[in-house]
Amino acid sequence: MSDELLSYPQRHYGMDHDRYRWSMLQDRDPIVWPDNKPLALWINLSVQHFPLSGEKPVVAPPGALTMPYPDLRHYTLRDYGNRVGIFRLLTLMQQYQATPSVAISGALAQRYPRLMERLAETGYEWLGHGWNMLCMHAGEIDVATESEWIARTREALEEFTDQPVTGWLSPGRSQTANTPELLMRNGFSYQCDWVNDELPYPFKTAEGEMTCLPSCLELDDVFVLTQNLHSEDSFVQQVTDAADLLIEEGQKQGGRLLALNLHPWLVGQPHRVSAVEKILDALLVARGDAIWHAPPATIVGAAIDQIG
């Protein structure tokens, strides 16, 4: 067997790559959120387009179509989110005066302009979420293609919103070796794909420094409900348990972040949407005094001078 298996060129202090500095959350200077709240809450709604085409991406994103072409079953279950589920969630968000972000597949801007208008009326922050759920930023995708996906997504979204689109969440939180540089070149200043922290941190690229605002895979609705097959009641409990722990830590150690990612095609279903209502009630009403709820760019803005 080759000696390469026992050779360790990156075995040294810190990380085995140059994207960010090694540090432990508890050893950093405490972060202070507005009004000295212990916990910042970011809610994101991922509004996604899963093409019916039957193509197989390099890596299948969560929720990918699985059946032989034409997989009408999963195509329509996902499209349900764009026709029905999103409007249930928007109603709830308005009822609780929540300010979620929406991460949007660029292709939806071409397909469903009316959906874009409705999302623009909310005033919520928009994030680039890839062109569609088959355009996976993974493996040997060539730079020109990937760059074009990112540019096209940003242009498509900015046609419908007056607000700057500066944040990015890749389909399946997947990146190529080039994604961070391409995001910077296309005007994105923060990305949410690396789930390695619970606070924003500086992320190095060859185009300059960007911010990573870590999303949370382990509390993502698709992960908990469809991959782990946990009950809706358990999902609510997991979110409230997380909030309680982070509030307690935030009071003792400095500001913490709870990132909650929801999919209209999943929790917008009639038997699941009450779980979202329970979560909003638990976070924004029962724990409202301890929580600073804000859009992601606002959270990054509040943190950026404190995380050098």
Binding site: L5, D16, M24, D27, N196, L217, Q238
Partner: protein, 308 residues
């Protein structure tokens, strides 16, 4: 079959029915020896390819898998450590030895607490598969020497990296000065293990069933249900421990158990277990040294028969 010499499964340890053994008496008459084994691991972003096992399912860079494991070191470690401090548990760390070089701050925090460090290979992305016997010896020695240099004590235990083994793994580890293995899941009491050097060497129960990664990733348990499983296991082993001492281990990973939506379930279990009298809260090494001092006859209760 491959050209690798097969070893007899019967030569590993001798058969001994659970209820036919001499009474195992723990220090101070405890019924149960309880230990917690945090796996503190380093997974490489770009390891060499081992033809027998792919380190990552995702093409380079494996952002989803890598980043959640990095979360364990950046965020999770100190969170679990604070909890173990609170309940008076010294961790027995299953350590990727290269972490001594990458993250010495973690090693220092654990050393301050007189935790035990045992070997879990160099990286959890480097497997035993395909190594020659000499290469495997070099890897085992490298890990032991690295840990010994960092903490001043040679490791006594071994959990092979990513549970990857060869026919020689246990023999080589015993010859390198090890006293116990965590790689065998056949019993709830320590077992004498046959090695070619005939050195005193035992298997200490390290429950794969209560391992948080198995519970959360393979069995997909809800967090509160996992906590309940730990308490049920304790009740059973504690009751049986009145007749003959038992061992209970909770193996953990900071990227699983320390997530904010899961830690409370683990805390409830720790509170429950440490709230009982007659529990020996200990480490893997202390259990191994204790049973080795008692001798093989005391563990097995009958003359040793030649191995098949």
């Amino acid at each position: 079959m491959s050209d690798v010499a097969q070893f007899s499964e019967l030569s590993l340890y001798d058969y001994s029915p659970y209820d036919e053994r001499p009474k195992l008496v723990w220090p101070n008459g405890a019924r149960l020896a309880f230990w917690v084994a945090p796996n503190i691991e380093f997974y490489e972003l770009d390891p060499p390819t081992n033809p027998h096992r792919k380190p990552w399912p995702h093409p380079y860079p494996p952002v989803p898998g890598y980043s959640i494991r990095d979360y364990g070191n950046r965020v999770g470690h100190q969170r679990q450590m604070a909890l173990l401090d609170k309940y008076g548990v010294r961790g027995s760390i299953s350590l990727s030895a290269a972490l001594c070089e990458h993250h010495p701050e973690i090693i220092a925090l654990c050393a301050e607490r007189n935790w035990e460090f045992f070997s879990h290979g160099i990286y959890n992305t480097r497997y035993t598969y395909g190594l020659t016997e000499d290469q495997e010896r070099e890897m085992i020695e490298d890990a032991m020497n690295t840990i010994e240099r960092a903490v001043g004590q040679r490791p006594a235990g071994y959990l092979a990296p990513a549970l990857s083994h060869s026919n020689h793994t246990i023999d080589l580890f015993a010859e390198a000065g090890g006293l116990y293995t965590c790689d065998l899941f056949h019993d709830d009491q320590p077992t004498w293990v046959n090695t070619r050097s005939d050195k005193p060497f035992v298997s200490i129960p390290y429950s794969l069933e209560l391992n948080d990664t198995i519970a959360y990733v393979v069995q997909k348990r809800e967090p509160r249900r996992y906590g309940e499983s730990i308490r049920l296991a304790f009740d059973q082993l504690y009751a049986e421990g009145a007749d003959s001492g038992t061992v209970m281990c909770i193996p953990t990973h900071n990227y699983q158990v320390s997530c904010p939506h899961r830690l409370r379930a683990f805390e409830e279990a720790l509170e429950y277990i440490t709230g009982h009298s007659d529990v020996w809260v200990t480490t893997g090494r202390e259990i191994a040294e204790y049973v080795i001092a008692q001798g093989r006859q005391q563990l097995e209760g009958r003359p040793v028969e030649p191995s098949a």
